[in-house]
């Protein structure tokens, strides 16, 4: 199995959000949020549409500006930035060949092009993209694009990986493949924080759950506790598949 972590010793975790608020055009879209991500495992972010799942992930990753409060890592931001990755709901495909796309994060970090490409080929094969190495990334199928995104996100050995509904547009088989790859990444030492709508997937992968509602963390705790004994009526309704507003 490919080692996903490069330097497990000095982790950028814990990630701490203290009263973090995100605003768009002056309007608060999420927050204030207090949350800490530590240790190992998979945190699943759940919640209905518009509850702030994506905003929470973007806040943590630094794609969304923190307007109030703070988001801090154990290491300085410049170091933390290079040791975290993000997989988008709609995969962003660079106009490059598959191998070159996977190699790109390594090249950004200063690895010689030839060496980066050799490593990318190894990763592509491991992720089931061996037959598509020289194909342009934008022409891959939906499942292949998401696998490429995952390989590109993991090749640099991030301490933490954020995923925004990575299986939202995939069929069962592709979803299973992605879940297998995620399980391997987690076993390799990468902390995973992922949003999903799929309750089955949440039950399969989660070691911890963050339940979002109205832009705030409504309930959080170990997955077992959340699924077996949710504390709030909204969480109960959500788990039962009822409409939560």
């Amino acid at each position: 199995m490919l080692q996903t972590r490069l330097a497990p010793a000095d982790s950028i975790l814990p990630l701490t959000l203290t009263g973090a608020v995100a605003k768009v055009y002056g309007k608060t879209i999420a927050g204030p949020i207090d949350l800490q991500v530590t240790g190992h495992g998979t945190t699943i972010v759940l919640g209905p549409n518009g509850s702030g799942k994506t905003t929470l992930l973007r806040l943590m990753h630094g794609l969304q500006r923190v307007r109030k409060g703070s988001v801090t890592w154990a290491l300085p931001d410049t170091q933390a930035r290079l040791r975290q990755s993000y997989v988008f709901q709609s995969p962003i495909m660079m106009r490059r060949r598959v191998a070159d796309s996977i190699a790109y994060p390594l090249i950004l970090r200063g690895m010689p092009r030839k060496q980066a490409r050799a490593k990318a080929i190894e990763w592509a094969q491991e992720f089931g993209l061996g037959a598509a190495l020289d194909r342009p990334a934008p022409v891959l199928s939906g499942g292949e694009k998401q696998k490429l995104s995952l390989a590109r996100a993991l090749i640099s050995g991030p301490d933490i990986l954020f995923l925004d509904e990575p299986c939202a547009n995939l069929d069962g088989r592709a979803t299973r493949e992605i879940e297998t790859l995620l399980a391997r990444a987690q076993a390799g030492g990468t902390r995973i924080v992922m949003s999903t709508h799929d309750m089955g997937q949440a039950r399969r992968l989660a070691s911890e759950v963050v339940f979002m509602l109205g832009g705030k963390v409504h309930e959080t705790g170990p997955a077992q506790d959340f699924f077996n004994g949710p504390k709030t009526p909204q969480a109960v309704a959500f788990i039962n598949g009822d409409i939560v507003e």
Binding site: H61, G62, L63, R81, L82, S85, Y86, F88, I92, M94, R95, R96, Y104, P105, L108, P136, P138, V139
Partner: protein
């Protein structure tokens, strides 16, 4: 004798014949003029691209106070009158001008300088528009991957290279067909600064319409050939969605 407008048609036909004769006889004067035209314009395109492409990308990814105004001015400069550019460069390079000591007036270098000034806003502006679309697509990814500003610009230029070729070809098209500025700063000196457009202007002035027309067809052929060559070498229209 009244020719009912057919005299001009005859001159166009004669022009085609002249163009064929000049090309197939490998006329040495023509080759020299074509060589200089290509040298001046291609050099100007290379220099303007080296400045304009990164400038276009830089304007896309950076936010600063007068950004909108800068882009608006750059777009407006696309329509810069070549004669005005020629006059400006003439004044700068003339003996009494600030760069007169360089003794560049009436040399191909002066023509290249004038063409760079004319082409640069065009290349920068088109590349800015092209890269803006790509940046909208890549923004989150490049920020997420921790790419530095320089790395972002390089990624946008590399991945947008086929679209950016259009900007370069537009610059080439404007440069190769330009006459006003290079006439002023080059002087249309035989065996020194005469290029296709200035030669056409001269022959038209002398009343040699057929010969001027012949040179005109050579100029058009040259522009098409360079475009085809660049498209073929860069394999545009072949690589799927790229």
């Amino acid at each position: 004798m009244k020719c009912w407008g057919f005299c001009r048609m005859n001159e166009i036909t004669q022009g085609l014949y002249e163009a064929a004769r000049l090309i197939f006889s490998l006329d040495s004067d023509l080759l020299e003029i074509v060589g200089l035209s290509l040298r001046v314009t291609l050099t100007a395109v290379v220099i303007a691209s080296a400045i304009g492409l990164p400038l276009g990308a830089w304007l896309v990814i950076n936010r600063f106070r007068f950004r909108r105004a800068t882009i608006a001015v750059m777009n407006a400069l696309m329509g810069l009158p070549p004669v005005v550019v020629g006059l400006l460069v003439y004044m700068l390079l003339s003996r009494s001008g600030p760069f007169g000591v360089l003794d560049l007036l009436f040399t191909p270098t002066a023509m290249i300088i004038a063409q760079v000034i004319i082409i640069l806003p065009l290349i920068a502006s088109i590349s800015h528009q092209t890269i803006r679309d790509l940046w909208a697509e890549y923004h989150d990814l490049l920020i997420s991957l921790g790419a530095s500003r320089r790395q972002r610009i390089m990624a946008l230029l590399w991945d947008g290279r086929r679209a950016l070729l259009t900007a370069m070809l537009a610059g080439f098209g404007r440069g190769i067909g330009e006459v006003g500025a290079i006439m002023i700063v080059g002087g249309n000196i035989d065996h020194s600064t005469r290029v296709l457009t200035t030669a056409i202007s001269l022959e038209t002035g002398k009343g040699n319409f057929a010969f001027a027309m012949g040179l005109g067809f050579v100029l058009i052929g040259l522009a098409v050939a360079v475009n085809l060559l660049i498209h073929t070498l860069s394999r545009t229209e072949r690589a799927s969605v790229w």
